[in-house]
């Protein structure tokens, strides 16, 4: 089954996810993510934001429902997941850089291994992207020689080195010292301005309001409300969203 609309990059149909029998995290999520969208996913803790995001590249296996990426069904049995994941960059809350490799090796290992790009070419590309996030001079460092903000910027570049069509961010600034949040958000903002399709799970309401074009409010494992930032933040309709915003803003 192919999805018809050419502008839709990811389409999620009735996505459900349970852990064990009793813990229902996602209870039927439906959403279309268009090319160029910058979507922020907000919601109270336990609402399934992260699980939703991790289902998009099937790091979490959905219990039921379908996920289409560039027209192919990821949840189908015969899909080559690894091939599709190359096109879906992911950034984690805990960075998950490879501590036994230098920054440069972190960036080039996947392109060289999976896309068979020659080492020099991959390194040139990595260096160019590194300098765009202001870290060209740290190419030879090991991850634990970097600050949290630097690590996360490297992690973003690592995902970008695979030239993905969409970037998934799982609370990218939640593990950072407050004064390092800005530098990571700036990189993400630039990325959005360059037209990258992004799905961002975040608690940074300022970022959601300023950068995203759509906001999803997840509650109880469903999208309780969605709309432009102006609609969601300026004129919330459902009660749960109102109380949530009252607490976080």
């Amino acid at each position: 089954m192919k999805s018809a609309d050419n502008n839709v990059l990811i389409s999620v149909r009735d996505l459900k996810k349970n852990f064990d029998e009793h813990i229902h995290v996602l209870n039927g999520v439906n959403v279309d993510i268009n090319k160029g969208d910058v979507i922020c996913v907000i919601g109270p803790s336990g609402s399934g934001k992260s699980t939703f995001l991790r289902c998009l590249n099937l790091l979490e296996k959905p219990t039921s429902g379908q996920i289409f990426f560039e027209g192919d069904e990821l949840t189908g049995k015969k899909t080559d997941l690894n091939l599709h994941r190359q096109k879906m960059g992911m950034v984690f809350q805990q960075f998950n850089l490879f501590p036994h490799m230098t920054v440069m090796d972190n960036l080039t290992c996947a392109p060289c291994m999976l896309r068979k790009i020659p080492k020099e070419q991959a390194e040139a590309k990595a260096l160019e992207l590194l300098s765009r996030v202001g870290l060209a001079d740290r190419a030879g460092a090991y991850p634990n020689q970097l600050s949290g903000g630097q690590k996360q910027r490297v992690a973003i570049v690592r995902a970008l080195c695979m030239e993905p069509d969409v970037m998934l961010f799982d609370e990218p600034t939640s593990a950072l010292d407050p004064e390092m949040v800005g530098e990571v958000l700036d990189v993400m903002k630039k990325l959005a301005e360059d037209g990258m399709t992004m799905v961002v799970v975040t608690h940074e309401m300022g970022f959601a309001r300023e950068v995203s074009n759509r906001v999803l409010f997840l509650d109880g494992g469903v999208i309780a409300e969605e709309g432009t930032p102006a609609e969601v933040f300026g004129n919330p309709k459902c009660e749960r969203l109102k109380t949530f915003l009252a607490k976080v803003l």
Binding site: N82, R85, M90, N96, F98, H100, L114, Y142
Partner: protein, 239 residues
């Protein structure tokens, strides 16, 4: 002072004569050399087998855990480690030598037995090391599009190595010393070589002392090698 010197000199000459008598009569020292050679052959062969089996079992176990269709694999791995770790290595050696592999040459049997035995311990050590690596590492690798095996080889295993090494070093040392029971099945290993000299010469102390020193030196050597490797692996730890 002078008397002490004389006593010392007397003792040393007597001891030296005794050593000459014990080790040089009938070329007895050759028994030690043969023994040393066999001990090394058995240890190195068994290590190779043990590392291969251990890695294989650990990785199989890692991949089959939580996958229902692979539960037989997981079960077989469990049976292997349980049974092998539950039987004393001497008994295992006797079973293989007189039973399962009775047609084979003794040293080959010893290599196989010690290898299979040590593989069970190494499997548990390696599995522990793999599990000690943060789950996020595998996820990060997978999110970039690596297969499970690629992420294991390139990302997880190199990091697990740092957790594995100290325990594997212990296992290597234990294995080297465990081979001293190879004499049970008529192999002339280092220990048995010493024993044979003891029987030939009725010198109770010097052959055993020589054997003990030989093991000690080998173990110290192994320890140094592992220290070196650990130091090189902790390169990325530096700040």
């Amino acid at each position: 002072m002078q008397t002490i010197n004389i006593v010392m000199a007397n003792f040393l000459t007597t001891w030296f004569d005794k050593l000459k008598e014990t080790f040089l009569t009938d070329d007895n020292y050759k028994l030690l050399l043969t023994g040393l050679k066999n001990t090394l052959i058995i240890t190195i062969g068994a290590l190779a087998i043990g590392v291969v089996i251990g890695t294989l079992v650990a990785v199989l176990k890692y991949f089959s855990d939580g996958v229902p269709s692979l539960s037989p694999v997981s079960f077989i791995c469990d049976v292997y480690t349980t049974v092998i770790r539950g039987i004393p290595v001497v008994v295992l050696l006797l079973i293989f030598f007189f039973g399962i592999l009775s047609s084979m040459n003794g040293i080959a049997v010893a290599i196989i037995t010690f290898g299979i035995n040590s593989g069970a311990y190494m499997a548990e050590i390696i599995r522990g090391g793999i599990n000690a690596v943060d789950k996020g590492q595998m996820e990060a690798g997978r999110s970039l599009g690596m297969s499970k095996l690629q992420a294991m080889r390139k990302i997880v295993f190199p990091q697990a190595l740092r957790y594995i090494l100290p325990a594997i070093g212990n296992e290597f040392i234990a294995l080297l010393k465990e081979t001293s029971v190879a004499g049970y099945v008529a192999i002339i290993d280092l220990t048995r070589g010493g024993n044979l000299i003891r029987n030939n010469t009725f010198d109770q102390y010097n052959p055993l002392a020589a054997v003990a020193i030989a093991y000690l030196v080998m173990v110290i050597g192994l320890t140094q090698i592992f220290k070196l490797i650990e130091r090189r692996l902790s390169k990325s730890e530096k700040r």
